[in-house]
């Protein structure tokens, strides 16, 4: 069994090599920090620097509301940006990559708990090479979110429910889909209560069951309270989604309409011209993988992948490729598939293919092509 320190050192070396390669590839695109900062990166940096309600790019209060971006990642960035004025993009990159390292290591611990025969170093390599993994190195909330999510599920697997509850609270403050973790935690606590239904000290068991479930959504609740105080609308984070053309129509409608659009030719177009069919295909891929995970009786993982697709797909398809490709349980499924390959040649071949694709999509990211957003 690999020691944790060995996994950490290996992950650090792999990530450093990846970033070095990124740096070389980013030379024609303005350097690493600039090239990696696309789309939502600017939102997070300005949010960390100036807070909600205003957007410093527009320099007045009647600017585009940034309440759609949950506070945990900007709050994490804020003290580091304050320490390094004048280099926000580089600092943000360091924070994202530190979270990514954490995700890789905690993911390895989760593997040890759920797939004892799995090689954690192979997991690290899969994460580093996976084509859409560049997002974890960008100033996006994905790396923090995945770290918190995999840690929550690990704590739940180890029956450390209070730790799970606290991590879930942080998760709920990181992305809207963080609330999905309430279901596995709630189910586990309900089963606990049921198993102790005949015990004499029922109030104690009820408290043991209720308190973690009550703590878990605090991240979202406190954000709602803050929004109510700042704007008068506790659901501003939801209402403001209309500015991104997100209106609730249900996942069947968006995916069916996306496929029917048959606009694959838009995949390689420049910024903001989304291919609905491409996005719908990613949603179906993710749901298919969730079905496979459920068939293997990993129900918590299947739920956290499927629901993370269906919830955003209920309003619009854009960003779904990113949501699917960076979901920790989608990545675990990719790792499971790689682990099943027979022979080192097959594994090396799959890594070579993924690495090549990684390089291509990284360049697309540097030029902000919509297919990688």
């Amino acid at each position: 069994m690999r020691s944790v320190s060995k996994i950490i050192i290996f992950a650090c070396v792999c990530l450093a090599l990846r970033l070095l390669l990124y740096k070389l590839m980013a030379i024609p695109f303005g350097g690493l920090a600039t090239a990696m900062c696309q789309y939502d990166c600017g939102w997070y940096v300005r949010l960390a620097q100036d807070g909600y309600g205003s957007d410093s790019l527009y320099a007045n209060y009647l600017a585009i509301p940034n309440w759609a971006f949950f506070p945990a990642f900007p709050l994490l960035l804020r003290p580091f940006l304050a320490l390094t004025p004048g280099m926000p993009l580089f600092t943000g990159l360091l924070v994202s990559n530190a979270c990514f390292l954490g995700f890789a290591v905690v993911g390895a611990l989760y593997l040890r708990a759920t797939r004892p025969a799995a090689d954690p170093l192979l997991w690290v390599v899969t994460l580093i090479i996976f084509p859409f993994g560049y997002i974890f190195s960008a100033i996006y909330s994905e790396s923090l979110y995945d770290l918190l999510l995999i840690a929550s599920v690990l704590m739940l697997a180890k029956r450390r429910v209070m730790a799970c509850a606290v991590l879930t609270a942080l998760l709920c403050a990181t992305r809207p889909t963080g609330v999905l973790m309430l279901i596995p935690l709630g189910v586990e606590r309900a089963l606990y209560l049921w198993s102790h239904r005949s015990d004499a000290d029922r109030l104690t068991h009820l408290g043991e069951a209720l308190l973690p479930v009550a703590i878990a959504p605090l991240g979202l609740s406190l954000y709602m309270l803050d929004q109510y105080v700042q704007t008068g609308d506790a659901l501003a984070f939801n209402h403001v989604q209309i500015l991104w053309d997100r209106v609730w129509v249900g996942p069947y409608r968006t995916i069916a309409d996306g496929l029917a659009a048959w606009d694959w030719y838009l995949v390689l177009q420049p910024k903001r011209i989304y291919s609905l069919s491409y996005d719908a295909a990613w949603a179906l891929l993710g749901l298919g993988v969730a079905g496979w995970i459920a068939w293997r009786r990993r129900f918590t993982e299947a739920w956290l992948l499927a629901a993370s697709i269906l919830l955003p797909a209920s309003t619009a398809l854009h960003s779904l490729p990113r949501f699917v490709a960076t979901n920790p349980f989608f990545l675990l499924a990719v790792f499971d598939l790689v682990s099943r390959l027979n022979g080192r040649l097959a594994v090396a071949g799959s890594f070579a293919g993924m690495g090549l694709l990684h390089g291509v999509v990284l360049v697309f990211w540097f030029i902000a092509a919509n297919s990688v957003y």
């Binding site: 408290g207 009550a214 605090l218 709602m224 609308d233 939801n238």
Partner: protein, 72 residues
């Protein structure tokens, strides 16, 4: 007999968060700056009928009295 601290704390947290959600659903206090930007933008991009109003958390439209001076 020891009081069930975890149960009491859990109930208090549930009550607090229920109150927060109730604030959001039933008592929006849309201030002028939020209204000026968001509501105007929403009215322009609202997928409903022209002149329809943005929805609160309950699914009901904002009332005329809540639109303030920015009603179109």
């Amino acid at each position: 007999m020891r009081p069930p601290f975890k149960l009491l704390l859990g109930l208090a947290l549930v009550a607090l968060q229920t109150a927060i959600v109730a604030l959001g659903l039933f008592f929006p206090r849309v201030d002028a700056t939020y209204r000026a930007y968001f509501i105007d933008q929403t009215l322009e991009t609202w997928p409903g009928d022209p002149g329809s109003k943005p929805m609160t958390g309950l699914g009901r439209p904002l009332r005329d009295s809540e639109m303030g001076p920015y009603q179109k």
